[in-house]
């Protein structure tokens, strides 16, 4: 990545985050009186005024906006309305659970998907290929909330072999991770298969064969590195799906992560927590896009020469 491209991307990223911060501020102010939601509409004006002052809601709007921006830059997203703790603390307490579930299912789905996708590509049009691809379509078409419920019905209620809710032991991780990972396995299997097939049809594969390279070497030395490039892109793109998916799956399995925290906060109209999560996800996504661009230039030599020569 050359300097100019990097700067453009950096400015876009900062702009994205600023727009989202501003959007949450506007939404917050349009959404009605949070104090009324907190103390109820029967509360006396004095109590309302006290809380209004405590949360800084009695000052002019532009002043609130400036201090709001300042607070967010300092990492202060305000107090959770429900239990008066800083919203950031609640999110950080829930984060390890979300990371554990998210990483397990994402990496698991990636490995399973890639392995089976590549196997399917190498045995193109065989029964095995059709079988794997049939499962892949089922995997990413099954809505995760439904798959979760089916798994609970079978493994937790019918056979009683796995727990259905909570996060007390490693056993608790299995059902939610399988639910979330199945979607990714399906998507990655399909994508890996089509990418692999595209690569296998290239001239350099014919050349490798012609010079007598063995099958194993052709697959692992010539085909896989070239197939890896588009796969890195889609891995970056699917991270958003991971965020959306964990909101659902954490709710289904009572997993105490950020997703369940978010759903609870929306139900109780706890905006400090909602905006903390929203902004933290936005920052994560922007950073991930950077990382994907960066990895892209690392693994694809063509990108490096193109950016040096071009522009």
């Amino acid at each position: 990545m050359n300097g100019r491209l990097l700067t453009t991307k950096l400015i876009r990223g900062v702009l994205t985050i600023w727009l989202i911060v501003t959007f949450t501020f506007i939404a917050l102010n349009l959404s009605g009186d949070p104090i009324e939601a907190l103390v109820g509409d029967q509360a006396s004006p004095a109590v309302m005024a006290y809380y209004r002052q405590k949360f800084g809601l009695d000052r002019p709007l532009w002043e609130q906006y400036i201090s709001y921006l300042g607070n967010i830059i300092r990492g202060d997203f305000g107090l959770s309305l429900s239990d008066q703790k800083p919203a950031v603390e609640l999110v950080i307490a829930a984060l390890p659970y979300t990371l554990r579930l998210g990483l397990t299912s994402f990496i698991g789905g990636l490995v399973v998907g890639l392995v089976f996708g590549i196997i399917a590509a190498l045995h193109r049009n065989s029964t095995l290929d059709r079988f794997i691809m049939g499962f892949a379509v089922l995997g990413f078409s099954l809505p995760n909330f439904f798959l979760g419920i089916l798994l609970i019905l079978l493994f937790a209620l019918h056979w009683r072999v796995l727990p259905s809710a909570g996060a007390d032991s490693a056993w608790h991780l299995i059902l939610p991770a399988v639910t979330l990972g199945t979607h990714f396995a399906g998507i990655f299997a399909r994508f890996a298969r089509s990418t692999m097939l595209e690569v296998l049809n290239k001239q350099y594969m014919v050349a490798a064969r012609a010079k007598g390279a063995p099958h194993f070497r052709r697959v692992f030395w010539h085909a896989l590195p070239n197939a890896a490039i588009p796969i890195v892109t889609i891995v970056g793109l699917k991270l958003g799906d991971l965020v959306a998916g964990s909101i659902i799956v954490e709710t289904v399995f009572g997993w105490p992560g950020v997703g369940r925290l978010l759903v609870g906060a929306i139900t109780s109209r706890d905006f400090a927590v909602v905006q903390a999560i929203l902004i933290m996800v936005a920052v994560t996504m922007v950073l991930t896009n950077f990382a994907v661009d960066f990895i892209y230039t690392l693994i694809d030599p063509r990108m490096r020469t193109a950016s040096q020569g071009g522009r």
């Binding site: 876009r12 702009l15 994205t16 727009l19 989202i20 959007f23 949450t24 939404a27 917050l28 349009l30 959404s31 193109r124 049009n125 059709r130 691809m133 049939g134 892949a136 379509v137 089922l138 990413f140 078409s141 099954l142 809505p143 909330f145 439904f146 419920i149 089916l150 609970i152 019905l153 209620l157 298969r193 089509s194 097939l197 595209e198 049809n201 958003g240 799906d241 965020v243 959306a244 909101i247 659902i248 709710t251 289904v252 978010l262 759903v263 906060a265 929306i266 139900t267 109209r269 905006f271 909602v274 905006q275 999560i277 929203l278 996800v281 936005a282 996504m285 922007v286 896009n289």
Partner: protein, 296 residues
């Protein structure tokens, strides 16, 4: 290039016989989607009961294939409401929200795309930046934030669903309009003195319509999934209205005693999404003119 395209025809996950025009599985998905569309149109005629009618004496009755009575073919839920009637209406509401949401998104996105292509410069920058911002976040999160801020009335929910996917329509339209403006027919109309609005609606829009229709069919199932997910969380369509996701979410509490309350709507969501993706794959393979000759 042609050898690279050959596999794509074969890569379709359908068990296609080269000579058969309509593989069995495609016919099945078509039939299923037709039935769903029929239910969407005729839910009020088909439903044996009012989907809100409660009957506390007949709670949690099993479907007829699990020993229930023929009065309630698919059993009843926790308030004694007929599940068959609720399913029919749930399909209607889910499809309605998906159609409405996709239509709003398509309209807004297309108009913004035209505006970006017409004005270029600053307007284009702003519109494309908004598109970038939206694309950089998972939409589920945006929808949840909007619901958190503005509550969950039915009309508002359809509007929020309309936010989904506008940026894809905007990008597509902008791209195609800019390239169409450079083509002879548009330049000729401009030279003849036709106003831009006339050229856009009468001459350019018909030419890019097919692209927009394809995007519409891609967007539609995603909005169904989004709606069912949000309703499942209890934050989308709320009682007394119903949707497939809402039924599934509400049935979750009765998994031990009456699993069919959750599993029936879930199965319909699953069959619908899987049908659309199988049919979509098949149509894409058929419509792509570069693949047509290669397969046989």
């Amino acid at each position: 290039m042609s050898s690279a395209l050959l596999w794509r025809k074969k890569a379709s996950n359908l068990p296609v016989k080269a000579e058969s025009r309509y593989p069995v599985i495609v016919l099945l998905t078509m039939a299923f989607l037709l039935v769903i569309f029929g239910i969407f149109c005729l839910a009020d005629v088909l439903a044996p009961y009012d989907y809100r009618a409660q009957s506390l004496r007949q709670r949690l009755m099993p479907p007829v294939f699990l020993g229930g009575t023929s009065a309630h073919l698919l059993g009843t839920d926790e308030l004694g409401r007929d599940i068959l009637s609720r399913l029919l209406y749930a399909i209607r509401f889910s499809i309605l929200v998906a159609l409405g949401g996709t239509a709003i998104g398509a309209l807004v996105g297309t108009v913004l795309g035209f505006l970006a292509a017409h004005f270029r410069g600053f307007v284009e920058e702003v519109i494309m930046m908004m598109a970038d911002v939206q694309a950089s976040l998972p939409f589920m999160l945006i929808a949840l934030a909007l619901i958190a801020a503005f509550g969950g009335s039915f009309m508002l929910f359809i509007l929020i669903m309309g936010f989904y996917g506008w940026e894809v329509f905007a990008r597509l339209t902008r791209g195609v309009v800019i390239s169409a403006k450079g083509q002879g027919y548009a330049t000729a109309m401009t030279a003849l003195g036709a106003p831009p609005f006339y050229i856009y609606t009468r001459h350019i829009l018909p030419n890019i319509l097919s692209v927009l229709v394809v995007q519409f069919t891609l967007n539609f199932p995603q909005v169904i999934l989004l709606e069912t997910s949000l309703s499942f969380l209890g934050l989308g369509i709320r009682p007394p209205l119903t949707s497939l996701g809402q039924m599934l979410g509400a049935g979750r509490a009765y998994l031990t005693t009456a699993w069919w309350i959750a599993v029936l709507p879930g199965t319909i969501i699953f069959l619908t999404t899987v049908s659309i993706s199988i049919l979509g794959d098949w149509i894409r393979d058929r419509l792509d003119p570069t693949l047509r000759g290669a397969g046989s």
